[in-house]
Subunit: 363 residues, 2 copies
Amino acid sequence: MRETGFPLAPGAVIGILGGGQLGRMLALAAARLGFDCAVLSPRADAPAARVAAHFVNAAYDDPEGLAELARLSAVVTYEFENVPAAAVSRLETLGRPVAPGARALAVAQDRVAEKRFFEEIGAPTVAFAPIASADDIAPALERLGAPALLKTRREGYDGKGQTWVSGPEDAEAAFARIGAHPAILEARAPFVRELSVIAARGRDGRIAAYPPAENRHENGILRLSTAPAELAPETGATARAIAAGLLERLDYVGVVGVELFELAGGRLMVNEFAPRVHNTGHWTLDGCEVDQFEQHIRAVAGWPLGPAEPFAAVEMTNLLGAEAGDWPALAADPAARLWLYGKHETAPGRKMGHVNRLRPLKG
Amino acid sequence: MRETGFPLAPGAVIGILGGGQLGRMLALAAARLGFDCAVLSPRADAPAARVAAHFVNAAYDDPEGLAELARLSAVVTYEFENVPAAAVSRLETLGRPVAPGARALAVAQDRVAEKRFFEEIGAPTVAFAPIASADDIAPALERLGAPALLKTRREGYDGKGQTWVSGPEDAEAAFARIGAHPAILEARAPFVRELSVIAARGRDGRIAAYPPAENRHENGILRLSTAPAELAPETGATARAIAAGLLERLDYVGVVGVELFELAGGRLMVNEFAPRVHNTGHWTLDGCEVDQFEQHIRAVAGWPLGPAEPFAAVEMTNLLGAEAGDWPALAADPAARLWLYGKHETAPGRKMGHVNRLRPLKG
């Protein structure tokens, strides 16, 4: 078995669970630093696999696939938070460190555990109640108020697996709408806007946080990020402090995406975090000397983190579904920095690419 | 046979002859725009192959390898100028456009043809004489003066295949030193510094030129590029005009690297050009929104060129041979943007990576 010593020397192989656009951009960043990548994905046409030295085309819970990934890689990371916990355990049993670690993944995979963790670290979040059956909803509504947001405890992304509960009379129907899975009911956050912080923690414990982005979602899917968000300085400092606290308490290695609500008056609440590079951090690809993908690779490889200061303000627009068909106009626009993910099939709402537009930094 | 229509749609495959660091950085740029790459290289561990969707491990003159590359690719480009002309013809016979075209390659491959081409387009260059045998050297020296620089007409890079001739008594020995190949003798250029222009021409005939870089060579190998070079405005304009004239006269598609000498008083002479992305353009990777690699992919794919204005000044330092072993210090330096090429073997003078350091633009 190969010994892993950090920092990893260039030429080492970094394993990536997942083969989508985040894995693809991780692989491109790794290549810049002289690393090779090994991608494990159940999809034969995984976008990340087409820019990686090694490809293991297997299910996430396939023991042989995981053994092959472990054999190839010095360290393993992942590009999405629904990697089976058993896969991570198996890789660790095979002697391969996985970053971010199992605890970060476990907390991020269960919305109730995540909310309790926020409470534990003193990060303000919305009031919530665990929901095991439709019968739990009415009593919870009395405490949380209506309407409230019902979400499956596990899985679900881009607004999938969640629904608004208008009142106690809607309890049965709402529970059915999310597939009658174990759930969480969340009080409505009276937010004026959505923010996020992309931050990283290295193996040396040092933290680098990018300035917060302001985000706009449509139908539960990110449409637009603007960064750096125009914020009161203390709001920005609080946002970064929440991210730093989270990273420290999870003994985290890698990049995290922390989604926040800003309430009237600048008060912040944490919504959720993703233990991976994040769509709201794509602005860093063209606005920072070291983008979130290189930062993640640096952390995972045990390298010192790079600077997280931007040299430009960026407006990032996602290209969803058929919008990627606008590539001829975007290619001709001198102000549009285009990223396309190499996905062969378009579907409504599917993230096919994004566009970064740069502006001078203020102040 | 696949029809090639320009502009190529994302998802198309771009073929690359050659698998070194230039091919690797081309493949990374292509991935950003949603293209896949097919790399043909005789080296099994080619750095570019490890970030490409397809790899044809074959010699450049292998008919089956070339047929496979043609089958995979919508268009083919190359990352070095010593690709056999027959390989390009073969790909074109198979219906695959090759960019830059056969004429650019033919001119760049023969130093005498190149110098004659410079004369033809009115670009000032050093006096020269074709040398077929050692007997041609003494009479040429009378016209060109001594010492003069003897170079093989073909092949040779990074100072290989060239030698100074101190005087007529050195003729026999000098010719032997370069392997007694057909050669060119060049008058010594009384330059005060070396400059280069990286420029691109699209399939629509439009040209984008980056501001010139100032370059320093050691032992015939590029050590340092600083860009934008501090130049008299008219010198910069002349440099770009020389590059533009060259691109137009060759009906060129892609990025070219044009090396120039600046004489006392700001007068310019063209030294040579490389029909490809160029080491003296690596500064654009961190100093421009659209770097030379994306620019080349845009041109080859028939996309509009992007802007070539820098947002930062850059000092680019090559990491040669064992210098790449300094990666721990470079990784820890917040001002060092590191690029490592994924080469598994180090050799003295071998280009293993480079470092870009950014500074604010002047003016």
